[in-house]
Symmetry: C2
Subunit: 206 residues, 2 copies
Amino acid sequence: MSEMAEKNSNTEQNILEAAKVVFVAKGMDGARMQEIADKAGINKALLHYYFRSKDKLFEAVFVEILSKLIPDISELLLSELPLFEKIRKFTQHYIDTIRENPLIPVFILHELNREPEGIARTFKSMGIQPQIFIDEIKREIGKGTIVPIDPLHLIVNLLSMCIFPIVAQPIMQHLIFEENGEAYSAFLEQRKKEVPEFIINSIRKK
Amino acid sequence: MSEMAEKNSNTEQNILEAAKVVFVAKGMDGARMQEIADKAGINKALLHYYFRSKDKLFEAVFVEILSKLIPDISELLLSELPLFEKIRKFTQHYIDTIRENPLIPVFILHELNREPEGIARTFKSMGIQPQIFIDEIKREIGKGTIVPIDPLHLIVNLLSMCIFPIVAQPIMQHLIFEENGEAYSAFLEQRKKEVPEFIINSIRKK
DNA sequence: GTCTATATCGGGATAGAC
DNA sequence: GTCTATCCCGATATAGAC
């Protein structure tokens, strides 16, 4: 049994991996079961054996992606560092994380638009709790370390400046570097320092 | 002939309008010619009469969207206002513009990922020239009005904080307002003031 | 220019052998 | 568990009448 189970879950994992790549690149509608099967080194019929349908397979992939992403965010918000240090660490770590899978944010947003109800259900079932970080910002304002600012805007600014330049790379690269991928990559690397300093510069009490 | 031409271009325009809505919401792959025909109040066959294929129709829609978007950006970068004023105006105008068609940025990015070569060609054929704005920022740094900052990072920060919160509304709304659309709308409205002040606060020489 | 009817094909899904 | 062969529907595209 152990051998069977071994092989079973290997194949299943192969399928999930392949499906993830294809779904993320092409979207649910553009993805082809044939392509997933090829990439997994197996046969179309086997896809249906493991996951009953394309919808079910997609759902599985979507859940896997989300459940990997969310703890990653939460973890950092809850660490024990002082605020400015936390902003620096978060930016660095987050830019790196998204650069590893730059297609995922657009994938999620696209699918969220495509089928708001169905996917949103999946999404809601996993909780993120930004409240702790919000409270921390409020405390710093109270202490007078930083200027009065709505914590939500601060958080959204931070996320925006990390995520957007990566997901918009296909456009930005063309706009400012004439398709020079190397240059844009270096630009993103710089942002790991530029963004936190930009933020801290704005909120630090003088 | 005038009557014919009239009707002709009306239908053509109706099709383009309908196609735009459907393509933007569902993406090229998810869009159905039937749905476009229905929304245009005509028949599937007519779509093929005006535009030979789905690909051709998509191309037409994509070009129309881009050629509307790009002058809109350029225009503002070239105005004559002082820098801080320009940042305020740009933010306001740009947030409003994107809120009118919040799905378009994700649509563009998704399609760019789906078919990098084909679409990129279309994209490149229209030029945006950020150089004038870059030079202006450099001059202000020279004058000592603002702190030394790489103009590209400043521009990307600005765009990020305008665009991202709107395209990521489906996620953010859930994260911070528990699906309260009204509250998120008000939040975006606030950003028209918060974002420029956040930026100016960061770059202004003290 | 606009419609109805139909050809064609791609792709998701199932049957059944091994 | 994995494969081959096949079913069947949906969607693009075309033919042809009006």
